[in-house]
C-alpha cells in the first residue's frame, strides 16, 4: 500500500501550505514528546538531539507560515490535514523509541520521517493539475531532499551501534 494512501486532498496553493504547515508542527510535537520521554528515562544525549530536531522543524513551520502571508494555515490545517491510514508523514515512529536509544537511532527515525515527507510532496508534484501547487510542491520536495542529505551527513558522525546497544543488565522494575 502506498505510503501516502488516505492523504489529505490538496485543492489549491493555500491547502498545500496548510498541509505542509501541519506536517511540520506534527513533527515538532512528536520530537518534543520523544525528548520528554528521553528526559524521564535518563537519556540526556537523546534529550538534546530531539529538542534540536524539534527546533529545526519549528523553524520550517515558521517559514511556511510566512509564505502563507495573511492566510490562516493553522485553521485550514485543522480542517483538512488528516492522514487517514498513517500518521503525519514526518512524525517519528513512536514504536521505534527505546529508553537506551543512541543518536544513530534518533537520526534513523528522523531520516525515515524526512523520506516520507519527500515521497508525499513528490506525489503531489506528480499528480497535481494546479501549476502554483506544482511549483510550491517542487520547492518543498527540494527542501525535504536537502533535509534528507543533512541527516545522511549527520549519520556519518555517529557509528552504527553494536548489537548489544540495548543490553541493560538491570532487570525491569515492577512499580505496582
Amino acid at each position: 500500500m502506498s505510503k501516502t494512501a488516505g492523504a489529505p486532498k490538496v485543492a489549491n496553493l493555500n491547502d498545500l501550505l496548510a498541509v505542509a504547515y501541519q506536517i511540520e508542527i506534527d513533527a515538532v510535537d512528536r520530537y518534543k514528546l520523544l525528548a520528554d520521554q528521553m528526559e524521564t528515562h535518563n537519556n540526556p544525549d537523546l534529550v538534546k538531539i530531539f529538542r534540536d530536531l524539534a527546533r529545526a522543524e519549528g523553524i520550517h513551520g515558521e517559514e511556511i507560515r510566512r509564505m502563507a502571508g495573511d492566510f490562516d494555515v493553522a485553521a485550514r490545517a485543522r480542517e483538512i490535514a488528516k492522514f487517514e491510514k498513517s500518521e503525519s508523514p514526518e512524525e517519528a515512529d513512536l514504536g521505534s523509541a527505546h529508553y537506551m536509544m543512541t543518536p544513530w537511532h534518533a537520526l534513523q527515525l528522523s531520516l525515515a520521517g524526512e523520506e516520507r515527507a519527500l515521497a508525499y510532496f513528490t506525489s503531489i508534484v506528480e499528480n497535481t493539475k494546479d501549476p502554483k501547487v506544482k511549483t510550491l510542491a517542487a520547492e518543498l520536495v527540494e527542501e525535504e531532499a536537502e533535509h534528507v542529505q543533512l541527516v545522511h551527513r549527520l549519520l556519518q558522525r555517529y557509528p552504527k551501534p553494536s548489537k548489544n546497544w540495548a543490553d541493560d543488565l538491570d532487570p525491569p522494575v515492577s512499580q505496582e
Binding site: 524521564t40 535518563n42 522494575v173
Partner: protein
C-alpha cells in the same frame, strides 16, 4: 589501616547503566571470598531506564540491616539521584567517586563533607569497544575493596555467558581499566578477614528463601496471582514445585488464588499462596472459611507500603492488624514473621509444619526489605519440621471430622478415604461437620479452635530472645537485625540491653513473654508503622511489666541500627 568488621558501598546510575547488576556482582564476589553481605536497592518510578542505587553491606558476620552511613559511593551518573537523599547517607569519612560528566553532585554528597574523587568512567568506557561505564565502576569498587581482577570478573563472566565473547572481553577490559583508575586512591578502610567456615555459602533473596522453606515444609501446591513484591516467590515455585512432583496454577485474581489453595488442601495437598497487602485484604473472607473448616493453608504476605495501593516497591510493617484481626467473627489462626533473609527459609518451613499440625491457616508476614534483598549467608540447616497432618484412615462408624480431642486437633479424612465422607463448611457446625445453630456446638467448636492453638508447645522458636539487660527492645520481622546490632552497639557503650523479637505473633504466649521480660525496667518497642500497630498489639495481649516507649515510623525509609542505638542511649 585498621580492619573494619563491615563496609558499605552504594553504586548509583540511571538510564540502563546497570548499577544494580554491578552491586549484585560485588555481593557474589564477596560471598565467594567468604564474607557475609546484604544487597538492597532503591529505584525511581520508571519501569526501565530509571535512576537506581544498589546498596551493599559486607561484613565478617551475618548482615541483616543497612548501615547508617556509606563508606564508598560511586556515581556512574547523578541524574535524579537527589531522590535517594534520605536513604543513602554520606558522611565526612565517605569516599565518593564521581564522573565529571555525570551531572551535578546531589545535596546528599555536597552537604556531607565527603571526599570526592573524579574518575571519567564514561570516557574510559568509550575507549573500549562495547565498553560500559558500570564495568569501570565495578573495577574501581573491586580494587578499593581489595579483590583481584579475577574475583571481580568471575560473576560477570557468568552473567554474560550467553552474550558472546565480545561482550565478555569488553567487560573484562572495563574492569581492568577501573582497577587501574583506582590504583592511586587511599580508601582508608579495609574489611577484616572472613571467618573460615565449613558450611556452604548461599546467595539468595528473601522471596527465594521463602519459596524454598515452603517446599522443605511439604508444600506441593501453589496458586499464583502476581503482585509486587511477592511475585518472585511464585516464579521460583513454578518450575521447582514441578520438580518435586507438585503443581502451580496461575489464578485470575487473589479471590481465586486463596480458594484454589483451600481446595487443594481439602484434597490432602499442603498448599500455599503469596501476596501483598492488597491481595491479603481480598483473601480475608476465605481465610475465615479455612479457619472455620479447619483446613491448613499458608499465605505469605510480603508487606509493602500501605494503605491501599500504597508504595509497592518499599517496605513497611502495617499489615499486622489485618493479619491478626482481619477476619470477621472470632477466628484464631497462626501468624508468623521471619526475621531475616535466611530466616525466611526456617519460618516458612515451620509455618507450614504448624499449619498442617494444627489444621489452621498460617499467615506469614514477610516484607519487601527481606523479600527483595539478596544476602550472602550460610546454607540454612535442615530442620525436622515437615508438615504432618493428622489423617483419619481406617474409619469405622460415623466419622467425626471435628471431634473434640485432648489436644483439640481432630483427624482429617482425605477425599477418597472410605467412610470418611464429610462436607467441609464455613457454617457453624457440629463435631460431625453438619451445620448447626445451637449454642453448645458453637461454643464447643470455638473452644476447640482456640484451644488447639493455645495448648500447642511451640518450643523455643517462638521468639529470638537475646541478652539480659534491663532495657528490652521489642521488635519483629525485618527490624530484628537492626535491633540486634543496636543492642551490640549499646553494649560497646556499656549499656546492657536485651532484645525480644517474636517469630510467632499469633497465638500469643503470655507465659513465654513474661519469662523473656523478667527483670526488665524499660521497654522500647520498635516498628515500621505509622499507627504503632505492634505496640498496641503487645499492650492488648501481654502484660508489659515496665514503662514503654514507642519508636515507630512508617516506610519507605528503613529504621537503622544507629537510630535504635540512639533511642536506647538517651533513655537512662
Amino acid at each position: 589501616m585498621a580492619a573494619s568488621r563491615s563496609i558499605s558501598i552504594a553504586i548509583i546510575g540511571s538510564g540502563g547503566a546497570g548499577a544494580l547488576t554491578t552491586v549484585d556482582s560485588l555481593l557474589e564476589t564477596a560471598a565467594a571470598a567468604g564474607w557475609h553481605g546484604l544487597f538492597t536497592r532503591t529505584l525511581g518510578p520508571q519501569i526501565r531506564g530509571g535512576e537506581a542505587a544498589g546498596l551493599l553491606r559486607l561484613a565478617v558476620d551475618p548482615v541483616e540491616s543497612l548501615p547508617d552511613r556509606f563508606d564508598l559511593m560511586i556515581g556512574i551518573d547523578w541524574l535524579n539521584a537527589h531522590r535517594f537523599g534520605a536513604e543513602i547517607k554520606a558522611g565526612n569519612q565517605t569516599l565518593v567517586i564521581s564522573d565529571p560528566r555525570g551531572g551535578d553532585l546531589p545535596p546528599m554528597v555536597t552537604q556531607s563533607g565527603a571526599r570526592v574523587v573524579e574518575i571519567a568512567m564514561k570516557e574510559m568506557a568509550k575507549a573500549i569497544p562495547d565498553g560500559r561505564p558500570n564495568m569501570i565502576a565495578l573495577g574501581i569498587a573491586g580494587r578499593l575493596l581489595g579483590f583481584t581482577v579475577e574475583q571481580a570478573f568471575a560473576p560477570i563472566a557468568k552473567r554474560l555467558a550467553d552474550k558472546g565473547p565480545a561482550a565478555i572481553e569488553a567487560s573484562l577490559a572495563g574492569i581492568k581499566v577501573g582497577f587501574g583508575a583506582a590504583a592511586g586512591i587511599d580508601f582508608g578502610v579495609q574489611l577484616a578477614a572472613p571467618k573460615p567456615s565449613k558450611v556452604r555459602r548461599w546467595l539468595l533473596s528473601g522471596n527465594e528463601a521463602t519459596a524454598l522453606g515452603a517446599i522443605r515444609g511439604g508444600i506441593r501446591f501453589a496458586a499464583a496471582y502476581p503482585i509486587t513484591p511477592a511475585t518472585e516467590i511464585l516464579e521460583w515455585l513454578a518450575p521447582n514445585l514441578t520438580k518435586v512432583g507438585g503443581t502451580l496454577l496461575q489464578a485470575e485474581d487473589e479471590l481465586a488464588a486463596i480458594n484454589m489453595i483451600i481446595g487443594a488442601s481439602y484434597g490432602g495437598t499442603p498448599a500455599l499462596t503469596a501476596t501483598s497487602g492488597p491481595g491479603l485484604s481480598l483473601m480475608i473472607e476465605a481465610l475465615g472459611l479455612a479457619t472455620s473448616a479447619e483446613i491448613p493453608i499458608v499465605v505469605v504476605d510480603v508487606m509493602r507500603g500501605g494503605p491501599s495501593t500504597g508504595i509497592p516497591t518499599k517496605s513497611e510493617q502495617g499489615d499486622l492488624n489485618i493479619a491478626i484481626y482481619g477476619m470477621h467473627g472470632d477466628a484464631p489462626h497462626l501468624v508468623l514473621a521471619p526475621q531475616s533473609v535466611g530466616d525466611c527459609v526456617f519460618t516458612t518451613q515451620w509455618a507450614t509444619y504448624l499449619a498442617e499440625a494444627l489444621q489452621a491457616p498460617a499467615i506469614i508476614l514477610s516484607d519487601q526489605f527481606m523479600g527483595q534483598s539478596r544476602a550472602a549467608i550460610e546454607r540454612p540447616a535442615d530442620v525436622a519440621f515437615i508438615g504432618a497432618r493428622s489423617i483419619a484412615s481406617e474409619i469405622s462408624g460415623p466419622y467425626m471430622r471435628h471431634a473434640m480431642t485432648a489436644n483439640g486437633v481432630s483427624p482429617m479424612a482425605i477425599p477418597g478415604t472410605r467412610g470418611g465422607q464429610y462436607t467441609a463448611d464455613g457454617l457453624t457446625h457440629s463435631e460431625r461437620a453438619t451445620p448447626t445453630s445451637g449454642a453448645a456446638d458453637h461454643l464447643a467448636q470455638l473452644d476447640k479452635r482456640r484451644d488447639k492453638l493455645d495448648r500447642f508447645n511451640f518450643g523455643d522458636h517462638w521468639a529470638s530472645v537475646e541478652g539480659a539487660g534491663d532495657l528490652a527492645v521489642i521488635t519483629w520481622g525485618s527490624l530484628t537485625g537492626a535491633a540486634r546490632e543496636a543492642v551490640a552497639l549499646a553494649a560497646a557503650d556499656g549499656i546492657d540491653a536485651r532484645m525480644v523479637a517474636p517469630r510467632l505473633l499469633a497465638p500469643v504466649l503470655p507465659e513465654r513473654m513474661a519469662a523473656a521480660l523478667a527483670g526488665v525496667k524499660r521497654i522500647l518497642v520498635v516498628e515500621q508503622t505509622h499507627g504503632g500497630q505492634f505496640n498496641k498489639f503487645l499492650r492488648a495481649h501481654y502484660d508489659l511489666p515496665a514503662p514503654v516507649r514507642a519508636f515507630n515510623r512508617p516506610g519507605p525509609l528503613p529504621i537503622t541500627a544507629g537510630e535504635i542505638h540512639r533511642a536506647i542511649a538517651v533513655w537512662r
